[in-house]
Symmetry: C2
Subunit: 499 residues, 2 copies
């Protein structure tokens, strides 16, 4: 594979100066077009052979382009807070906002490559890791991102020569690390694994650009010109699509046929008497308190998701659940409309950021499911976006579960009559009326539509690995006990598995 790029291409200094001048002007103009539009981010990855000029190329781009809108990020082995989360947590965290460009060194391809070369993982695990990368890239591309991947190459002789040159120069020898030398000895292994890596991750939407790295002038110009061409193409296509899209008809997919939903199958008459409730609640909270401490000690993290109609009792259930947990290990996160910064990222970004570290509990009071509920209902997400979201959410949750986090999703269901009663009660109460907004009444008018959205959501995202727990909510004591009992059961099981 790499022989075909060992062509000895080079650019003399005079030609370089001329081409550089034009190139950087065009790059700047594109950068401002990107910024002005601010509708998608650009992600540029640099991978490849040590000594092939990845860092120098990034420095050059920082000189050519406006550095205020570039961000350079390099990775090392995952640190504590990174190890405590799913593998892709740090890559999600570091995504550039729309309109900006991120330059990545030793990024997501680095770890599987090195682990495979040093036989820390086998082929199967290597493949699995690459498949995860592809899913990550697809999620971003579906959201509009432009991803450019550069593979910088040197032949074995060129690498050796490069290291010898550096070693001979006392002002440069510090650049060669022991790791570089160790890797150089494995050059052939690196090439073999790299070939596999490139073949398996060279997709139509995210191809690899293999760059001959020996001549700096050639390398800079080549990378710059590819960025220019691809960014220009992406911007043009984006603007064309935008112009064409205005006429596209969007649908929230609701057909009012009085269809029975999975929510209709719930027995909302389930009740727990007051006295029994008090006894059980105390007993459950005690048990949950013990388990919470145990989970913390073992580094088991927990994510609890609460969704449900307005006034379904999410807040009350959450408070009773976290009551017995140490406030220092639990965080209740409420998700309303996204902030300016959040809107400038992929919709999953704000949830990725909040995933619990090892041992901690995060409660999501409303969650990523807003994409297929309120965003679907209100047309904030296009039809393509909300339909695609079921799959995106499944993949997101798979990563959480794969990491070993306990993920539980509760749908609190109430009847339309019960909701009305609670709304009226809230109107009368001096300290509850803030809970009731005009929006709640408006949402209530869409009751049947929301029921179908919830039905679809449960159908597509209740998987064996992360099922929905449907909670009969008309009787608050019953609902609260069921929630806490469920958390207890799963936590016990998780701790047993871990023992």
């Amino acid at each position: 594979m790499f022989d075909s790029v060992e062509l000895g291409q080079s650019v003399d200094n005079k030609t370089f100066k001329e081409r550089e001048k034009e190139l950087r002007t065009r790059l700047l103009i594109l950068q401002y077009r990107l910024l002005e539009l601010s509708e998608f981010p650009v992600i540029i990855d640099f991978a490849g052979v040590d000594g092939a000029g990845k860092g120098a190329t990034v420095n050059m781009l920082n000189t050519w382009m406006d550095p205020r809108y570039l961000r350079t990020i390099g990775y090392r082995a995952p640190n504590g807070e990174e190890q405590g989360r799913p593998r892709f947590w740090r890559y999600w965290r570091d995504l550039p906002p729309k309109g900006r460009t991120g330059l990545y060194l030793s990024g997501r391809y680095s770890l599987p490559l090195i682990q495979r070369v040093y036989d820390e993982i086998d082929d199967l695990e290597f493949d699995r890791h690459l498949a995860e990368i592809i899913r990550f890239e697809n999620a971003l591309i579906d959201d509009g991102a432009l991803i450019l991947k550069f593979w910088m190459h040197l032949s074995k002789d060129q690498q050796e020569q490069r290291f010898e040159e550096l070693a001979a120069d006392p002002t440069q020898s510090y650049r060669i690390t022991e790791e570089d030398r160790r890797n150089h000895e494995r050059y052939d292994d690196f090439v073999a694994v790299s070939e596999q890596l490139i073949i398996r991750t060279n997709r139509g939407r995210t191809p690899w650009h293999i760059i001959e790295g020996a001549d700096p002038n050639h390398r800079y110009i080549r990378v710059g010109e590819i960025i220019e061409a691809e960014l220009s193409r992406h911007l043009d296509a984006w603007e064309r699509r935008k112009a064409a899209k205005t006429s596209a008809s969007e649908s929230n997919g609701f057909i009012d046929t009085g269809r029975t939903t999975v929510l209709d199958t719930l027995d909302l008459s389930l009740r727990v008497p007051k006295k029994k409730y008090r006894d059980l609640l105390q007993q459950y909270q005690a048990r949950l308190g013990e388990l919470g401490r145990e989970a913390f000690t073992r580094g088991l993290s927990t994510a609890l998701v609460f969704e449900g109609q307005d006034a379904a009792g999410k807040g009350g259930a959450i408070r009773r659940t976290v009551w017995s947990l140490d406030a220092r290990m639990v965080s209740v996160q409420q998700f309303a409309a996204p902030t300016e910064e959040e809107r400038a990222h992929h919709y999953l970004w704000r949830f990725w950021r909040r995933l619990p570290d090892a041992g901690y509990v995060t409660v999501f009071d409303r969650s990523w499911y807003g994409r297929v509920l309120v965003e679907r209902a209100e047309g904030f997400a296009t039809e393509d976006e909300w339909r695609r979201a079921y799959n995106e959410i499944n993949e997101f949750e798979n990563q959480i579960v794969d990491h070993g986090t306990l993920l539980l999703k509760f749908w609190l269901a109430i009847s339309k009559e019960e909701q009305l009663e609670r709304f009226q009660e809230r109107e009368k109460s001096p300290y509850k009326h803030w809970k009731l907004t005009d929006e709640d009444w408006r949402n209530r008018e869409q009751w049947d539509a929301y029921a179908q959205y919830a039905h679809d959501m449960i159908q597509y995202t209740s998987t064996s690995r992360s099922p929905w727990v449907l909670v009969e909510g008309d009787n608050k004591p019953h609902a609260r006990l069921k929630v806490i009992r469920t958390v207890i059961d799963h936590l016990e099981q998780k701790i047993d598995e871990h023992a």
Copy 2:
């Protein structure tokens, strides 16, 4: 001290119900006034004796008030990323935005208390830590924050009784940890140290409210009523001041007398010939590359601040400095106008967040000094705010230096003529003209005023522990070499001290 609160106060259930009803309504109303105004945050701390109901009180407040605008944060022993930064980094990080309320458990008072009781620190270190807390609180109060500190008390007998009750109840016994028991044995030490702590940190603007913790009803009502009274008073005073302030005259303190500034003493004719520059640059970058690796290995972190007139060459000097550093250990942060989220916090908040972790380098391209430069010039900060800022900045930098971080501050100085030449050159260049804005020309008109602001800044914030390095900038080669040479010298010294 505590005898005087062991009064056996209690509130019967009927009275509690009545008072609770009124209280929570009033608290909600205040919470919305706070939110609507959104001009200051509320910080509520809970400290005191184990078993006195700190966590339960926080839970109760979450029930009474609108939890969407409350945030509960509890602390444990500092983790990796917290240890890598100055002590107060995590408390700055977790400050609520203006208009919101933060509830803190085991907060900033917890560590010095426990360390002193277990003799891990002596009286001197204890005092020093408390003095730092007071400075932290003062910085927030000066910015308008309301800080409420509750000390929850139980007598030794009451604590013992509380633990016995919990131990006897199988559904509650999990609440008592070994740490609690260990602390209980040291009850008398805790009381002695707590008294000292309270006496030394009981300031007029942030008094302690000591609460008798034995009776839950009493405790909830007492805490709630104090919050209500203080928040109401703070809001009233704020609105009165606001009404009165409109007529206050603000000054940027500039008197145009052609005064000589410290910048006039620089020899801007200093030059380095091209050939010598190239040789030295390569040599310096090599040395800095070595030192950077060494510092990373030792966990020494570095913060480099760059300020200077427009077109003074900050960007170029920064790029040459970071060139030889591993991109994975260095982060260049540019600070323009603050974002929505940043504006909702203390002006130092966004800089605190970016302090480097152990071993890393952060470059601040413009910095907290904006407070006494552009904010002073443009009237974004009131006269009181920018005058106070010199001291706030000194204290901020003291914490950075105390932590062991290498902090270097560069002022890049150019002559007015040189700036004009660079502006004109930028106008002509196809890829530099983006660097030149109308604002640059406007700032240039204020040249003399900015010189005085810089002079004042250097005078008040160039201390022996964190001096300003004034860089003669008319000749770029000279300026760049001086910057890199300075970083090398200080890094060598730091590594020597560390060895």
